[in-house]
Symmetry: none
Subunit: 226 residues, 2 copies
DNA sequence: GAAATTTTTCATATTTTGTTCACAGGTTGG
DNA sequence: CCAACCTGTGAACAAAATATGAAAAATTTC
């Protein structure tokens, strides 16, 4: 399910937008100001961001710029009719579309879907995940770590792909088995450990943090933690 | 299929309500007084409760309060026209809606559906909780306090999530054990104290009130107090 | 079908968590 | 102001989860 982050300070607007998006089957998270939005983005990445231009503390421009430093997630700007919105400037900052308030909920939903469709199209072309020092190519089944191509076995590759394509999120061994091995895998869930170990060995680089992090009592997570 | 528990002492009304609800595809269970209802709730949890205000043995108020100690299941109150129903008081007790007798079956069904829809919407809850200076992400199993990521153990995380997702509400140690540890945990309830202590240590911030508040003789509560 | 590779299992060592308990320190109500 | 009753704290101990290494089983390759 796709998740949309709504950044909007006015509670009624936030509610309205959330209700309509949820009705369309999206998962919705909300933040009432820019600081909270940026904080939230440190721990999860939505599929799209609806960003109000006029926000307390940090305005929409700044938030947008900040987001673009790290993420390529699609952003739709919300602007009040009076506010001047320089489309070119907006696009320069990396916004993908904008909606003028007051807007009809149906229009809003339509635009969200359009942007998502566009993003998915662009995204599906490259089955390549790219992280600092790590390149995973699904088409070629190749992995390059710290400039060196490394050889992974099929299971190792599938596991790495699964984790790396859902960064930051924690998965239990059972969930990993289900997703990577297939439904209702009967075997021992400690098998995952072994594969994780081998992956870590192969991805290891002196002086760099490990990409695959153990979350004690919960499972594993892919992501840079510092 | 959704199950509805009807708590009503008058047999004809019980029948009427049941028939109409079943016709709409609900599974219906009935209880003719408050004690029986509470007993039933110990072994199963319906998706909604229709609760008559006027009941033998335990009146509806008491039953409602009792239910709310443990469950967040939606409750619709049934009141006779003459009975004074203080809407505010009812909602304080945690009722989600009320219907005045005599009611049309169609109205009753409509209200049941409306409340269920609302509940489902609310149930697709955020996986990220956000309070001033505190961010809790359930997917990533991460907590950020005052801009710094903090490391929590599994139990600490589960406990914090439970408390933070029911802010302001007081839970006894027993209730916490039941909710966070699992039903009928056999051990010492003072274990909770230890975990609370560790949480407070980790969440502590000079100059800020503690999020986890002790309610003397009752238990603990999550909330900003000032 | 044998060799090589990959995957799984399992026992052990290691690390991290969870629980208990005793005592100190507060709070309440008579 | 005292007795009874809660809660906070720290440390010892128990329990649980993970890392590891090696060997067995399964699969693929030649």
């Amino acid at each position: 399910m796709e998740t949309i982050l709504v950044v909007e300070d006015e509670e009624p607007v936030r509610e309205l937008v959330s209700v309509y998006l949820r009705r369309e089957g999206f998962r919705v998270e909300t933040a009432e100001d820019g600081e909270k939005a940026l904080a939230m983005l440190r721990s999860f990445v939505p599929d799209l961001i609806l960003l109000d231009l006029m926000l307390p503390k940090l305005d929409g421009w700044t938030v947008c710029k900040e987001i673009r430093k790290n993420l390529t997630v699609p952003i739709i700007m919300l602007t009040a009719r009076g506010e001047e919105f320089d489309r070119v400037f907006g696009l320069e900052l990396g916004a993908d579309d904008y909606i003028t308030k007051p807007f009809s909920p149906r229009e809003m939903v339509a635009r969200v879907k359009a942007v998502l469709r566009r993003a998915k199209l662009a995204g599906s072309q490259n089955d390549v995940l790219c992280y600092p020092g790590l390149l995973i190519d699904r088409n070629a089944c190749r992995v390059e770590a710290w400039g060196q191509e490394i050889q992974l076995t099929p299971k190792e590759f599938d596991l790495l792909w699964f984790l790396a394509s859902h960064p930051q999120r924690v998965y239990s061994r059972e969930q990993i088995l289900e997703q990577v091995w297939g439904y209702e895998y009967p075997g021992d869930s400690r098998t995952v450990d072994t594969h994780i170990k081998k992956l870590r060995e192969k991805l290891k680089n002196p002086g760099s943090k490990n990409y695959i992090v153990t979350v004690w009592g919960k499972g594993y997570r892919f992501g840079v933690t510092e």
